[in-house]
């Protein structure tokens, strides 16, 4: 009974917590890339004379940017398939929020102990991205169509890397329950798998989060805003909110799968934060160092990297399964 109440309470707590952490990660992404680019970025400590006007910190700037959109007019184009166009952002958000219920946070196992939680979480993350494709397709804009097409192509190859890395770990740990994986012990073999499968997962995250060089679905110089061209107001805000949750969800999934047992006990929380910051830093470094690939180059690159690395992962995972 106590367990049930604790789970319910933690499910309620995790949503604002995930939003907050997602916003902080987005802030870090923006701030770090700004510093890499000789810019200032959103201020952590505001200049003294601007404090009365802008507040002491702009740490939540990514959130303000989203909230602003909720106050704007929402335009639905005439030529769109209205129902799909309007519901897609919300469905996408719902799936993203549902996914984070299955990913543990230090001190909060949430639903990660349920059978097959790894498959459920992966499915929910995929579904969330699927609806960022379906809505734009329904909008009837050529830019959105091209953006969605690129998104599909990118999605197929990045998903390949994602699945290969996640299930290599599942095979090595002989479990499809995230909680079992994240509470498992560490050893030299698992550390080796963490390096290779973690690298593949990071590569897959680049595609899922549209980090350069894989942001071609949103290439503003070519196709305006890509899938989001026709979206505005609340609907666009919902898509951005989804992205924040996805960023949190993928980082949390990475830590719980590849860095056990950080995501289990509340005492690991400081290390969890450090791991998350390092991950975001890695993503930022890739983001600022690269221009955008063409979609074909991106697919080639993914196939060249994901398949050999994935096969390597499986070999290591099988070896661990058989030997250890």
């Amino acid at each position: 009974m106590v367990d049930l109440i604790y789970t319910v309470v933690s499910l309620i707590v995790i949503v604002p917590l995930a939003l907050f952490l997602g916003v902080i990660y987005s802030y870090l992404l923006r701030k770090l890339s700004a510093r890499f680019q000789w810019r200032v970025g959103p201020m952590f400590r505001m200049y003294g004379d601007l404090k009365p006007l802008l507040g002491t910190t702009r740490l939540l700037q990514p959130l303000y940017d989203i909230l602003k959109l909720y106050g704007k007019e929402t335009v639905v184009p005439d030529v769109s398939r209205r129902r799909l166009f309007v519901y897609s952002p919300y469905l996408s958000l719902i799936f993203a929020v549902a996914a984070i219920f299955f990913i543990p946070f230090p001190g909060m196992p949430l639903l990660s102990g349920v059978p097959y939680s790894l498959i459920i979480a992966s499915y929910l993350l995929i579904a969330s991205i699927l609806f960022t494709i379906l809505g734009p397709v329904a909008s009837g804009s050529p830019w959105a169509a091209i953006g969605a097409r690129r998104e599909v192509e990118l999605f197929l190859v990045s998903e390949l890397g994602f699945v290969l890395s996640v299930f290599a770990v599942a095979i090595a740990r002989q479990s499809l329950v995230i909680w079992d994986i994240s509470s498992g012990g560490q050893s030299v073999y698992f550390a080796l798998l963490t390096v290779t499968a973690g690298a593949l997962m990071l590569v897959a995250m680049l595609g899922k989060l549209h980090i350069k060089p894989f942001d071609m679905p949103e290439a503003e110089a070519e196709i305006v805003a890509g899938p989001y061209t026709e979206y505005s107001g609340k609907l666009l805000g919902t898509y951005y909110l989804t992205k924040v949750f996805l960023l949190y969800g993928l980082v949390a999934l990475f830590i719980s799968l590849f860095l056990p047992p950080i995501a289990t006990d509340v005492l690991w929380l400081p290390l969890y934060i450090v791991a998350a910051v390092v991950l975001v830093f890695l993503l930022t470094a890739v983001q600022v160092l690269n221009p955008r690939y063409r979609i074909r180059n991106a697919i080639n690159w993914y196939l060249k990297v994901a398949i050999p690395l994935g096969v390597l992962n499986f070999v290591i995972a099988l070896a661990i399964w058989l030997v250890v």
């Binding site: 680019q37 503003e220 070519e222 600022v288 690269n290 221009p291 955008r292």
Partner: protein, 569 residues
């Protein structure tokens, strides 16, 4: 320094180049006017282009009121004879202003003829592409200048049926496969439309239309006189303002017997090269931005800011310098400032070299630029490419070497070189600009060294401009050859009768659709950016890929297949 002509050059033109002209007039700086009958224009063009490989600089017309229209074709013969430019003139009647079009002989004349048709109402007969140049294509009326037929009634209505359909596509098809890039689009800052027909992500046809910026600057100068003209000319373009200033001043100084002090010439070179430096840095940044590399954009623009600071310290302004005067410049560069600026420029050169080599060596940048927007030397020659676009196709043209403006580009005094590259694609254009930037650094450094060591006057009072004088002024803008033609008024010695400007983007934008076909949609902004288009300069262009009737033309399918083969991965 005085600027004169080789005395017997007009005789040379009569004997060696074209003996059948009606009249030969020698202008300053080896510009020779040859008057011919209007019917001979095509014959002359054929002779010049085919036999002497002369390059058409510009074709335009002058309204001589009661006398009629004077059609001008300006050819560059500088490869044949030092600094020789031949201006072919033909007087056509006002009532029937017809003359043969030369667009079939040298395709570059297409826009020029459409422009004069629209601006003056003359009628080049046999034009391959008679559409409007600045006005909307569906504009129902003939242009309101020149001759309007008697009893003609203005009709402002336009219906959907008459709507111009880009690339001759039916409306239903256009809804599915036509991507309009512009008139206002994040990839291109200024206004123009590039119609792109795509199959998947493959561009199969392209068309371009500008006309969103026409400000009538040439007319403004005609009304304000020579002195104020220098300031207006600078405002043609915000990025290459120094190049426009120098080209204008070169042109006006060619109207009278000009003398310019050496120190002024050095200051002019200094400014034009600083201008080129910041323009090229800006271009690298823009291309980095277009391929999605915000970091490259920020870093190059950070370096550009320092060049702008030097310019500001010298002239007091960042964009329009306002120091161009007939007979010199308006401001001196103090010796201390020159020394200080020289140190900054030398530091900057190292940093630029490092950063730009990083840009040119980045694997993802290379994958985005190599093979994109291919343009062979033959295509560049036929299409009339100028500047870095032509040089990247391994065609060595540079006005600074061939036909220098009134500044210091003498290889005996300043060591510099013309950069060419044989990549024939966007990567080649990047390399050319990056190397030119470093060459410009060298020139600036040498100029500053001279200015730091010497003193002297910077301006000699100009003489009165003779009535009815004519001149052609050329300069190498960062984007390519820039040409000014001025005809002085017959009545007032302070007013020009006609001024014509031909900007480099006018030419380079022409080739864009040619480079676009067969490329990936992701490369469209890169190809458009690779010419460093300056639409405020241009604003006048239109082209289709199917060059029906032209001699070097490829058929549509050939062109598509050719370009697809090139771009396949």
């Amino acid at each position: 320094m005085k600027f004169g002509s080789t005395p017997d050059i007009a005789e040379y033109v009569r004997k060696e180049i074209y003996p059948d002209g009606l009249e030969y007039v020698l202008l300053r700086e080896n510009r020779v006017v040859v008057k011919v009958n209007p019917g001979d224009l095509a014959k002359v063009a054929e002779l010049f282009v085919k036999k002497f490989e002369a390059r058409l600089i510009h074709a335009t017309a002058v309204d001589l009121e009661l006398k009629g229209f004077e059609v001008l074709h300006i050819y560059d013969f500088s490869k044949l004879k030092d600094r020789l430019v031949v201006v072919v003139k033909a007087l056509v009647d006002k009532d029937s202003p017809e003359f043969p079009s030369i667009a079939n002989i040298t395709w570059q004349a297409t826009w020029a003829e459409r422009e004069m048709k629209e601006l003056l109402g003359v009628k080049p007969s046999g034009m391959p592409d008679p559409r409007h140049q600045f006005l909307p294509h569906e504009w129902p009326n003939p242009v309101e200048s020149g001759s309007i037929p008697e009893g003609y009634k203005f009709d402002g209505s336009s219906t959907t049926k008459e709507m111009y359909l880009p690339l001759r596509m039916p409306i239903e098809e256009a809804y599915q496969t036509l991507i309009p890039i512009g008139p206002y689009h994040p990839g291109v800052i200024e206004g123009q439309i590039v119609y792109v027909k795509v199959e998947g992500e493959q561009v199969v046809a392209a068309d371009i239309k500008t006309g969103f910026h026409h400000r009538g600057i040439m007319r403004l100068i005609e009304q304000r006189g020579y002195n104020k003209g220098a300031f207006i000319a600078e405002r043609v373009c915000g990025i290459c303002s120094a190049a426009h200033g120098l080209a204008y001043i070169t042109c006006t100084e060619n109207l009278y017997e000009a003398e310019v002090p050496d120190r002024a010439l050095y200051i002019r070179t200094l400014l034009v090269e600083l201008n080129r430096m910041h323009s090229h840095l800006l271009w690298v940044g823009v291309v980095a931005d277009v391929i999605g590399w915000k970091t490259g954009f920020m870093l190059t623009w950070g370096l550009r800011e320092r060049v702008m600071d030097i310019i500001e310290a010298i002239t007091g302004n960042r964009v329009n310098y306002g120091i161009w005067r007939m007979g010199g410049v308006s401001r001196d560069v103090p010796q201390e400032l020159a020394e200080k600026a020289k140190r900054t420029v030398d530091d900057l050169k190292e940093e630029c070299a490092k950063l730009l080599m990083l840009v040119a060596d980045h694997p993802v940048v290379k994958s985005r630029l190599i093979g994109v927007g291919p343009l062979t030397k033959a295509q560049a020659y036929d299409g009339g490419a100028v500047g870095p676009v032509a040089r990247a196709s391994n065609w060595k043209i540079d006005v600074r070497a061939d036909n220098p403006p009134h500044a210091i580009y003498d290889p005996k005094v300043i060591s510099w070189e013309v950069i060419t590259d044989d990549h024939c694609d966007t990567f080649g254009r990047t390399l050319v600009r990056v190397k030119e930037l470093l060459v410009s650094c060298g020139i600036v450094s040498q100029c500053l060294e001279y200015l730091a060591k010497t003193t002297g006057e910077v301006r000699i009072k100009p003489k009165t401009v003779p009535l009815g004088a004519e001149a052609v002024g050329l300069n190498e803008a960062p984007r390519g050859e820039l040409a000014y033609y001025i005809r002085a008024s017959d009545k007032d010695s302070s007013l020009p009768h006609t001024i014509r400007i031909r900007t480099p983007s006018y030419r380079n934008n022409a080739i864009i659709p040619l480079m676009l076909v067969g490329s990936n949609l992701a490369d469209v902004p890169v190809v458009m950016g690779s010419t460093d288009q300056c639409l405020a300069c241009t604003d006048r262009l239109e082209i289709i890929n199917e060059r029906d009737g032209s001699r070097k033309s490829l058929t549509w399918d050939q062109l598509v297949n050719l370009s697809r083969r090139v771009s396949r991965w």
